[in-house]
């Protein structure tokens, strides 16, 4: 077993970078038709006019990945999974807020 260190550059999947539809599908094991359904559902918003020229903001990958895990793991339909992801995002945001506010209330020692 060889032990060598590989130096790699990380790319942040933020709003400033985009991922093409093809790469997104390949990465997620998704058919283009499924991606189209996600766009029609208003879950992710592409740049570009037609599916073959679509690109998506970086965070779309994580959202779609969560969506697919929920669909596959819980066997729920697309609309249900979209709702679940959006609620989960709200919960995450609220938890973050609550934690920040609790810290502020606790304040200095």
């Amino acid at each position: 077993m060889s032990e060598k260190t590989t130096v790699v550059r990380a790319v942040v999947l933020d709003e400033d970078m985009t991922i093409g539809a093809g790469q997104l599908c390949e990465s997620l094991g998704l058919d283009l038709s499924e991606l189209v359904a996600c766009v029609q559902e208003g879950f992710v918003e592409p740049f570009g006019d037609s599916p073959d020229t679509w690109s998506f903001p970086g965070p779309a990958l994580k959202r779609l990945h969560t969506l697919l895990r929920l669909r596959r793991g819980l066997d729920i339909d697309l609309a249900g999974a979209v709702l679940a992801v959006e609620l989960l995002e709200d919960i995450t945001h609220l938890r973050e807020r609550v934690r920040a506010l609790e810290e502020l209330l606790r304040g200095a020692p």
Binding site: M1, E3, K4, T5, T6, V7, V8, R9, A10, V11, V12, L13, D14, E15, D16, E26, S27, L28, G29, G58, P59, L61, K62, H65, T66, R69, L70, R72, G73, L74, D75, A84, L88, T92, E96, R97, R99, A100, E103, L104, G107, A108
Partner: protein, 314 residues
């Protein structure tokens, strides 16, 4: 290798019907799905559940599993019976994708290994490696400045015979400045290797922040509670406060109150548009610990006709 009691994992009796097994799976899947669950071992439990369901929902696998008998205890040391493998057919199972993301246990692999694994007959086929997903914990300082981090990855790699074997890899990752909690970073070509000369998949790491004793991040913004004295609040002052980028001077206006929020623009986590740092003032009351201090407070109570509860009508 440890024996796994799939019936116990799913909380059903050995004679449970297919419907009951499906119901149990659905219920537990919602409970342990890692995206939904707050259980500490959710990921592990969801994996176990997926594996148990993979066996119990499939009459052929279930029959083979039942054939082992019911005398086994969970986690008991297990070796397959000597006749194992002769009695079952090698029929392929295309799978439902329920457990597609998961690696099964050695127990599962031994019992239902390659012959049962349909859809993996990829030998000779050119196929890009799968993307892999993991988490990485970084400190706020690393997020602010960017950092080089060395991480060890335990990976399953396909060997020459098409089986999976564990290996560890060391990666040095250049973490870009300005990442925030929950964001993903992509390491191109660091996922699972491809087959037939096809390229490797990518590795995605989800960023998690280590808790910081002073700063509390929220997206790109940073919150910090700063204690001040009552006279600093009343008279106004110039304070030195810590930020991720170092100390800065900040003006506290006269007549400030506890809980009041001040903004240090652009002092949060970076990115195209840097976040802000919010300062929440917290007025600290000096203790009336000495006779002189007591006397001072008493004089204040006489000379300050101040009722903070007047709006309550009391």
């Amino acid at each position: 290798m440890k024996y796994k009691d799939y019936y116990k994992i799913m909380g059903v009796a050995r004679e449970a019907g297919a419907d009951e097994i499906k119901r149990a799976y659905r219920k537990l899947a919602r409970k342990y799905h890692p995206d939904v669950s707050k259980e500490p071992r959710a990921e592990e439990q969801f994996k176990e559940l997926g594996e148990a369901y993979e066996v119990l929902r499939d009459p052929e696998k279930r029959a083979a599993y039942d054939h082992l008998g019911s005398a086994w205890r969970p986690d008991q040391e297990f070796t397959p019976p000597p006749d194992w493998g002769n009695s079952r057919s090698g029929s392929a199972d295309t799978g439902t994708g329920y457990a597609a993301d998961h690696q099964f246990s050695d127990f599962f692999e031994t019992l239902f290994g390659h012959a049962f694994h349909g859809g993996t007959g990829t030998s000779g086929m050119r196929m890009r490696g799968q993307d892999q997903h993991a988490r990485i914990t970084v400190s706020l300082d690393e997020a602010y400045r960017g950092a080089a981090r060395v991480v060890q990855l335990g990976v399953q790699e396909r060997d020459a015979r098409g089986g999976m074997s564990p290996r560890s890899r060391t990666l040095q990752i250049q973490i870009p400045a300005g990442i925030i909690q929950g964001q993903q970073i992509r390491l191109a070509g660091q996922g699972a290797p491809g087959t037939g000369g096809a390229p490797s998949g990518d590795l995605y790491l989800e960023v998690e922040f280590e808790p910081h004793p002073l700063f509390h991040p929220e997206g790109h913004d940073i919150h910090l509670t700063v204690p001040i004295t009552p006279w600093e609040a009343a008279l106004g002052t110039q304070l030195t406060v810590p930020t991720l980028g170092g100390k800065v001077e900040m003006k506290v206006p006269a007549g400030s109150q506890s809980g009041q929020r001040l903004r240090l623009k652009g002092r949060g986590l970076g990115g195209k548009t840097a976040g802000d740092q919010y300062i929440v003032l917290q007025i600290m009351t000096p203790p009336a610990g000495t006779a002189a201090a007591r006397e001072f407070y008493e004089r204040m109570s006489r000379e300050f006709p101040f009722n903070p509860r007047s709006h309550m009508g009391v």
